[in-house]
C-alpha cells in the first residue's frame, strides 16, 4: 500500500497519459451526475402527474 506518485504534478501528468486518463474519468463523472439528475427529474414529474390525476378524480367525484 504505497502512493505511486511523488507530487501532485506527477499525479496529474499520469505518466504522459493525462490527455486520456482524465477525460475518461471526467466522462464517467458526467454520466454519474446526469443519471442522478435524470432519475430525480423522472420521479418529480411522475409525482406532479399523479397529484394532478388525483385532483382531477376528486373533482369528478
Amino acid at each position: 500500500m504505497t502512493v505511486q506518485f511523488h507530487s501532485m504534478a506527477q499525479f496529474l501528468a499520469m505518466g504522459k497519459y493525462a490527455a486520456y486518463v482524465w477525460p475518461s474519468y471526467g466522462l464517467t463523472l458526467l454520466a454519474v451526475v446526469l443519471n442522478i439528475a435524470w432519475a430525480r427529474r423522472l420521479l418529480a414529474q411522475a409525482k406532479t402527474e399523479a397529484r394532478r390525476r388525483l385532483a382531477a378524480q376528486e373533482q369528478a367525484a
Binding site: M1, T2, V3, Q4, F5, F11, M14, G15, K16, Y17, Y20, V21, P23, S24, Y25, L27, T28, A31, V32, L34, N35, I36, W38, A39, R40, L42, L43, Q45, A46, K47, E49, A50, R51, R53, L54, Q57
Partner: protein, 244 residues
C-alpha cells in the same frame, strides 16, 4: 419456503415503498465504495509494465462496460417477465433500466476509445468487441425510441419488451467476442474460474470499483422505478397515501 415475498414484488404500492426505503442505502454505499475503488486505482495501484499509468482508465472503463451488459440483462429479463406474466412492475423495471444502461454503454465506448488511442494508435476500429458494444448502444436507444413513439404506456411496454428480449442475444456476443474472433481488444482480465490474468494490487481496486458502480446503478434504478410505478398507477388510494 413461502413465495409471498415474490408475489409482493408484483404489487406496485409494496415496490414503491420498498424502493424508497432501500434507495439511500445503495446511494451512500455506492458513493463510499466508488471513492475507495477509484482512489485505490488512481493512486495506490502500481503502474502497468506495458501501459504505464494509462492503464488506470480500466477503473472506469471496465465498470462501465460491466454495467452496460448487466443492465441490459436485467432489462431483457424484466421485459420478458412483464411480457409473459403481464406484470406491470416488471415492465416498470425494464423501462427504468434503459437510460441508465444506455449512458454507461456510451461511457464504455468513449473511455474505450480514449484507451485505444494511446495503446492501439486509433480511437476506433471495426473490431468485433467494439462493434457489438456499439450495437448494444443502438439496442438501448432503439428500445427508448420505440417506447416514446407510443402515447399509451401499456402498449409501449409490450412493444418495447419484444425488442428488449430479442436483443439479449447480443449480450453473450459482446462478452465472448474477444474469444470467438481475433480481436484487437484484449481478452478478459477477470474470470469466475479464478484464473485472473491481472495482478492482485491492480485487481482489488477494479473489483471494488465494479461493486461501487453496481450499487450506484441500483440506487438510480430504484428512484426511476418509483417514478415508473407511479406513472402506471391508476388506483388512487395508495398513491394518495404515498404522496401525502
Amino acid at each position: 419456503m413461502t413465495w409471498t415475498w415474490f408475489h409482493r414484488l408484483g404489487s406496485p404500492p409494496y415496490v414503491y415503498r420498498l424502493a424508497g426505503r432501500l434507495m439511500p442505502w445503495f446511494a451512500w454505499s455506492a458513493a463510499l465504495v466508488i471513492l475507495l475503488g477509484l482512489f485505490d486505482g488512481l493512486v495506490i495501484a502500481p503502474a502497468d509494465y506495458q501501459q504505464g499509468d494509462g492503464f488506470r482508465i480500466i477503473y472506469v472503463h471496465v465498470p462501465a462496460a460491466w454495467l452496460s451488459l448487466m443492465i441490459y440483462t436485467w432489462m431483457g429479463v424484466a421485459a420478458g417477465v412483464g411480457l409473459i406474466w403481464r406484470i406491470k412492475v416488471a415492465h416498470a423495471v425494464a423501462a427504468a433500466c434503459a437510460p441508465v444502461g444506455a449512458s454507461f454503454t456510451a461511457v464504455a465506448l468513449a473511455t474505450g476509445s480514449l484507451f485505444g488511442k494511446p495503446m492501439w494508435g486509433t480511437y476506433w476500429v471495426w473490431d468485433p468487441r467494439l462493434t457489438s458494444e456499439l450495437l448494444l448502444l443502438f439496442l438501448y436507444l432503439g428500445y427508448m425510441g420505440l417506447r416514446s413513439s407510443f402515447d399509451d404506456l401499456q402498449r409501449a411496454d409490450r412493444a418495447s419488451a419484444v425488442l428488449a428480449v430479442v436483443g439479449i442475444v447480443n449480450v453473450p456476443i459482446v462478452k465472448y467476442s474477444v474469444v470467438w474472433w481475433n480481436s484487437l481488444h484484449q481478452g478478459s482480465s477477470l474470470s469466475l474460474a479464478g484464473k485472473d490474468t491481472i495482478a492482485t494490487p491492480m485487481l482489488i481496486p477494479l473489483l471494488v470499483s465494479m461493486l461501487g458502480f453496481t450499487l450506484f446503478f441500483a440506487a438510480v434504478v430504484l428512484v426511476r422505478l418509483q417514478g415508473e410505478v407511479l406513472r402506471r398507477e391508476r388506483s388512487a388510494t395508495w398513491v394518495r397515501e404515498a404522496l401525502a
